[in-house]
Every structure is written in structure tokens, then in C-alpha cells.
């Protein structure tokens, strides 16, 4: 079921994350140029399934400087089909290096590429990506 109160959910996630370890399945990837490591926790805590709404808690670690990331964006596309999600991912910034995303839905089986775009203070976008195959 889609969460009715994303902000409240985000706060719950954040508080859980601060105290007992964040819920959800943890994964990470490094941007192609090695600047950032992106770690995300997926809830509900089970592998992503086709047409199943989920949320992400995302933490971005700058591996080279102490700069605060300027912006973060998430998207998911199906390269073979040349389309993306039917939902819009609107990251909600929780703190300087963490975001939550709600109402995500990979609505079709097949190969999806999730992209995590971190923009630094110079406006340079750094991308990490993760391929997910849904059956």
C-alpha cells in the first residue's frame, strides 16, 4: 500500500536509522568517477518486485572532500524499452547527506537501471547506477 504520510514515514525512518540501524535492505554503489559512495536502504525490507511500491533512504558519502552535496536525484529507466517509471521520484532532504524517496515503483518486469545522481557545489553531476532485473 502506498504510504499516506511520506514525511512522517521519513521521520520514522530517520529516527530508526539513528537508533537501532536503518530498516530495509542495504545496498551501495560508488559513482563512476569515485567521488561519492551512495548507500541506500529499501523498505519494505524485501527485494524490489515488479509493480510494488517502495521507499528508499539514501545516504551520500563524499569520498574526496568534506563538501556538502548540492543536490541529489534518483531515477530508474528500462534501457531496452527506452522509458522510465510511471511515478516521479521526489527526494526529500533529511540532512546534509541523506534523502528519502517515496512512491517509487518499477512497474514492469525486465531490466531496470536505477541511477543516483549527486550534484556537487560546482554543479557537476556524478552518477552511480545499479541494475535490477525483475521477473
Amino acid at each position: 500500500m502506498r504510504p499516506a504520510f511520506p514525511l512522517l514515514t521519513a521521520c520514522m525512518l530517520l529516527s530508526l536509522g539513528c537508533s537501532t540501524g536503518r530498516p530495509g535492505i542495504k545496498q551501495s554503489a560508488t559513482t563512476e568517477d569515485g567521488r561519492y559512495r551512495v548507500t541506500w536502504w529499501k523498505t519494505p525490507p524485501r527485494p524490489i518486485e515488479a509493480n510494488d511500491y517502495f521507499e528508499l533512504y539514501v545516504q551520500v558519502d563524499d569520498l574526496k572532500t568534506n563538501e556538502e552535496p548540492h543536490d541529489f536525484r534518483f531515477d530508474a529507466t528500462m534501457p531496452a524499452h527506452r522509458h522510465g517509471m510511471n511515478t516521479v521520484a521526489n527526494p526529500y532532504r533529511l540532512k546534509r547527506d541523506a534523502w528519502s524517496l517515496h512512491d517509487l515503483n518499477l512497474h514492469m518486469p525486465g531490466e531496470w537501471v536505477m541511477t543516483f545522481d549527486v550534484t556537487d557545489q560546482n554543479g557537476v553531476l556524478h552518477r552511480a547506477s545499479e541494475t535490477v532485473i525483475l521477473e
Binding site: E32, D33, R73, P79, G123, L125, R127
Partner: protein
């Protein structure tokens, strides 16, 4: 292969058209770029951007005015109601105006970023009371009195303009703008308030793919929809589409109403429409009194995709792009014929999506690909995961976007790499920028002249100087910087004044320079000391012939690859001009004649 979207467009436009009936074609107008309605005649004036000559009409004994004495790479033309001739003098970032005998009366603008300064103005239109200019490099519209007194700028940031190329004033005094890289048309009042916005990227009626030229009058606004190869007409009061035509040529050079990359439009007093097609070096006239355009035949098997005007090579890779698809092609050159490894990209402004590319660069050792995206004003970097050389195969996912940085320059041009540097040129301000690993831009001390159109970087010489060769398209010269073996003097130059429109060059293994002359449809090879060595090619579509070649690279087997833009293909030669191969996205020919006795599938 024609893209399915274009085929759909063809079918949609095969219906009968009233305005879009073909009246006449005027060919062999090399350098034609702009057309303008003549106020006191049912005819159009034509501007030749290469020669600076304006032809006043197509009737017998129509006068021609040589305005080259005060113009440099002009792109826009307007005839005022009082007969004055206004020219957007793009190369000098200003507008010049003349009387009907060609005597210069004055000018306004000039290079710079100030209130009335201009950067690459592309078009102008003039009414009784105002002159409006697309200040393309500043992404804004400027409004002047007809004698050049500045009135105001229509703020491009508020309007969100991106590379506007066309402008027109309608009968009500409203300003129509072809907002080219936003793929839309805007109607503004003379203070810049948006009255109407038409279009998004697409092929359906009312959508655009790079609207370029525009003219208005009599309740109609006419737009040349460049990458859809068509003309669209709208109602100025409602913005509703009235009509569109532009049966795409399935063979290059097809005329009699077939339209190919139209750049500008003029709406004549009698209601006819004249369009300029620089790609085909011709002007065509349409109107109710003309003939129906023959419906398109199916594309022949040897028709290629729309290879774009930029290319790069390194190691086994060759890459180019296809503007209509906003997609980059990567080929493997180390097989008998090139094998297409990937096609990726799509139109848009989001990360990884493409606007309008002005340069590509590829590094086979580091598996990196870069593109200068003037449309999105960014420089993109992809990481490549190519298949092993012994098993090349098509894989659309071999390129992964790794970074995308905003450009520091306003007029992005060519791109070059050395072992340590990624350097790009700003053609407008004649500066070179270095992009480091953290995305920081640093201006570098590379002496550039006023229009650095292309560059070849060749590392650092023994004296610690950066060795570079820079083509200045304005001065028609290649300047060498740093110490180049085989040159007698420091900073030698190679004169290209005998060429019509040199646009790109490459350095061969023996350090000879290979130059493409787009206007002359030829390739020229010079020794590093400037001595001409050999020339090949002529205008045509056969193997070894060219139609407006746009780029050249030399691969690691010392083969010269010429992007034969007008024929939608690439051709490969030995440095002495011996033809080796013609190839595109689908197939390659290694033997003459056409169709060849043997042809080889590349996919």
C-alpha cells in the same frame, strides 16, 4: 534507415496541402542561409553566408549586392518596409544595415555581454518602428529602433530561451521567436510578456525538432522545423496549426518540394512561402499556385541515417551522433568493416539526455567518452564497457554516464584530450578551458584567434609548451602552437584561403594535416610546413564524392574518415585520397560501384 518517427511524419504529411504546393526550386546556391520577404515585390531576397552577397529576388536581372566588405559570416537577413537591408553579421556579433544599392548606412551591437552587445546574433526582423534581433549566444532577444538605438532586452532567463535562431514581427507588432533548442515557438509582446507558447520536442503537428527560421504576416506564422524537415504554419491569433508540409527527401538531393534541413522562411506579400535549405544549397518556393508534391517512395536500401556533423576516434573506436535521435553511435573500426557497438542517448535536459552536440572525444585506453552539449550547456562523460575486440557486438548499455558538468563558456566548440587534460574551446570568446577531474574549469593559456573552430592537441613539446593546432574558421588558417617537428619557424601557420568553408581538420600519422572544406565538397592534405600535398573529392553522392563534408578524423591505422554529412554516411580513405570504404549505421561498401557487387552487413 529512416527513423520510424520520420516515416510516420512522412505519412502524416502526405495529405494534400494548399500552401505547401511546390512552385519552384533555385539550386546551386552554395552558402545560402537566410531568406527575407521583399516589401515591394512578391519575391524573396537571399543571403549567401559564405560570400556576403545578397540577391534581391529571383526574377531575371534581379540585382545582387556584394556586402562582403562589411560582413563576416552573416546569418540573418531582413528587408525593412522602407527597403533598407538588415543583416545579422554573426561573425562580428552585430547588425549592419544598408540602402537598396548596398551602401552601408550603419550598424549596432558588437561583441560583448553588455546591454546592447551581442553574441552570435542569428536573425533579425524589422518593422516600421522596431528591429528585433535574436542574440543567440546570450539566449535573449534585443529590441532596437530601426536606426539602431537600443530600446530593451527581452530577458532570456525569464523566458528560458535556449539558442533562439529565428525571429519575426507580425502585423500586430507581436514578436515571434523560434526558441530552437527548447523546440518551441514563442509569441511575445514588445516587452517580452509571453502571449503564446507552441510546441515541444516531437514530430506531430504543433511539435518541433529545432525550429530555426520564422516569418509572420497576414494572420499566419511560418516556421521551418529543421530536424523534422518540414514547414509548419500557425494562426497568429490562436496559435492553432493551419498546415504543414515538407515531404522528406528519401534520397539526398531530391527536390521539387522535398524538404531537407530547412533553415529559414520568408512569407511573401502574395502568400507564398520561400524557404532556404543550406544543406541542399538551394531555395524553394511554395504556394497555392504550385504543383502537388509527389508522394515519397519507400526508402532505398542504401539510404543511411542522419549522421551528425561531429565525430571522434581513438584506438578501435569511432563515434558520431545522430541529431534527429539525439543519440550517439559508437563503432569498432578493427574489423573488416566498422561494427556498430552501441547507439545511446535521447532528447532532453535531464542527466544523460542530450541537447545539441558540438564535439565528441573518446579515449580508448581509459574507456571514456565525452560530449560537449551546447543545447544543455554541459559537458557529459561516459564510462565505456566495450565488448572484447575479438567479439564485437551491439550492446546499447556499454556507455554509462559518469559525470555531467556545466560548461564555463558561452560558445562551446571543439573538444580535445591529451594524456592529462580535457580541453574545450569557446568559439565566441576565443578561450580554451581545461576541465579537471573534480569538474573545475580553468582557463588555459592557449593562444586562440577569433573563431577557433577545431583543435588538435598533441601533448607537450620538449620546451614544456602545449603542442596544439587550431583551425580559425574566420581567418581560414591553421595555427600551430608549440614546437612541431618538421616546421622551420615557431608558431607557423597553414593558409586555407583557397578553401571555401574549412570546418574541421585532423592530424595524420606523418603529421600532415587533413582539412575538410564543407563549401568546396573536398578534402585537402597539407604538410606540416603548409605545403599542399593532395586534394580529393568533388560534389556528388558517389563513393569518393562528398556533399558538405562536416568532420574528419584519422584512426589508429592512419585511415582518414570523413563525415560526409550531406550524404548521411562516412567515407574512409588512405591519406593519399584513395577511397577505401563507405559506411553508415547499417552497412558498408568496400567496392565500387553503387550498388556494389559485394556488400557487408555491419550489424
Amino acid at each position: 534507415m529512416l527513423a520510424p518517427a520520420i516515416l510516420l511524419t512522412l505519412l502524416a504529411q502526405a495529405e494534400a496541402s494548399e500552401l505547401g504546393k511546390w512552385v519552384s526550386t533555385h539550386e546551386n546556391l552554395g552558402g545560402v542561409r537566410a531568406v527575407a520577404a521583399m516589401p515591394n515585390a512578391d519575391d524573396a531576397a537571399v543571403l549567401n553566408t559564405e560570400t556576403g552577397v545578397v540577391q534581391l529576388g529571383f526574377a531575371e536581372k534581379s540585382p545582387t549586392l556584394d556586402l562582403s566588405y562589411s560582413l563576416h559570416q552573416p546569418r540573418g537577413l531582413a528587408i525593412a518596409p522602407n527597403g533598407r537591408i538588415y543583416v545579422a553579421d554573426t561573425g562580428r556579433h552585430r547588425v549592419m544595415y544598408f540602402n537598396s544599392d548596398g551602401e552601408m548606412l550603419g550598424g549596432f551591437g558588437g561583441p560583448g555581454d553588455g546591454t546592447f552587445r551581442m553574441r552570435n546574433p542569428h536573425a533579425i526582423d524589422v518593422s516600421d518602428t522596431i528591429a528585433v534581433v535574436t542574440d543567440t549566444g546570450h539566449n535573449r532577444i534585443q529590441v532596437f529602433e530601426p536606426d539602431g538605438k537600443h530600446i530593451r532586452n527581452l530577458d532570456g532567463k525569464t523566458l528560458g530561451l535556449r539558442g533562439p535562431e529565428g525571429v519575426a514581427i507580425d502585423d500586430a507588432g507581436h514578436i515571434w521567436v523560434a526558441d530552437t533548442h527548447n523546440h518551441r515557438v514563442l509569441c511575445l509582446d514588445d516587452h517580452g510578456q509571453v502571449l503564446r507558447a507552441i510546441g515541444t520536442w516531437g514530430t506531430f503537428p504543433g511539435q518541433f525538432m529545432e525550429p530555426s527560421g520564422i516569418d509572420a504576416g497576414g494572420g499566419r506564422v511560418v516556421v521551418t522545423d529543421r530536424l523534422n524537415h518540414r514547414v509548419q504554419v500557425f494562426d497568429t491569433d490562436t496559435g492553432a496549426p493551419i498546415e504543414s508540409w515538407g515531404m522528406h527527401a528519401v534520397f539526398p538531393r531530391q527536390g521539387e518540394g522535398k524538404v531537407h534541413y530547412p533553415a529559414d522562411a520568408a512569407l511573401l506579400s502574395g502568400g507564398d512561402v520561400v524557404i532556404a535549405e543550406p544543406f541542399e544549397e538551394r531555395v524553394q518556393r511554395f504556394g497555392p499556385g504550385g504543383k502537388d508534391i509527389e508522394p515519397p517512395t519507400l526508402a532505398p536500401r542504401d539510404v543511411q541515417s542522419h549522421f551528425g556533423p561531429v565525430a571522434a576516434t581513438d584506438g578501435r573506436f569511432f563515434c558520431t551522433w545522430e541529431p534527429e535521435l539525439r543519440a550517439i553511435h559508437i563503432f569498432d573500426l578493427d574489423r573488416k568493416t566498422p561494427v556498430r557497438l552501441a547507439t545511446f542517448g535521447e532528447p532532453g535536459e535531464a542527466p544523460g539526455q542530450l541537447g545539441n552536440l558540438t564535439a565528441l572525444e573518446i579515449d580508448a585506453d581509459r574507456n571514456r567518452l565525452w560530449a560537449v552539449d551546447a543545447g544543455n550547456h554541459r559537458i557529459h562523460e561516459w564510462t565505456l564497457s566495450p565488448p572484447p575486440p575479438e567479439k564485437p557486438r551491439f550492446d546499447p548499455s556499454i556507455a554509462t554516464l559518469s559525470r555531467s558538468a556545466p560548461l564555463a563558456s558561452a560558445g562551446p566548440g571543439d573538444l580535445g584530450t591529451t594524456e592529462d587534460d580535457l580541453i574545450y574551446l569557446d568559439r565566441t570568446s576565443a578561450r580554451a578551458w581545461k576541465l579537471n577531474d573534480t569538474g573545475h574549469h580553468t582557463p588555459i593559456d592557449l593562444p586562440l584567434s577569433r573563431d577557433p573552430a577545431a583543435a588538435a592537441l598533441a601533448g607537450i613539446d620538449a620546451a614544456g609548451q602545449r603542442r596544439a593546432a587550431i583551425l580559425d574558421a574566420s581567418d581560414k588558417v591553421i595555427r600551430l602552437h608549440g614546437q612541431w617537428p618538421g616546421t622551420a619557424s615557431t608558431e607557423p601557420t597553414i593558409s586555407l584561403t583557397d578553401l571555401i568553408d574549412p570546418v574541421d581538420f585532423a592530424v595524420a600519422g606523418d603529421k600532415s594535416l587533413i582539412v575538410v572544406d564543407r563549401g568546396g565538397h573536398q578534402v585537402h592534405r597539407f604538410a606540416i610546413n603548409g605545403t599542399p600535398l593532395n586534394t580529393w573529392g568533388e560534389r556528388g553522392s558517389d563513393h569518393g564524392q562528398f556533399w558538405r563534408p562536416a568532420a574528419v578524423v584519422v584512426d589508429h591505422h592512419d585511415r582518414v574518415i570523413v563525415l560526409d554529412h550531406g550524404n548521411h554516411r562516412a567515407q574512409m580513405f588512405q591519406p593519399d585520397g584513395t577511397w577505401l570504404m563507405t559506411f553508415g549505421t547499417g552497412r558498408a561498401w568496400t567496392k565500387r560501384p553503387t550498388p556494389p557487387a559485394t556488400e557487408t552487413e555491419t550489424d
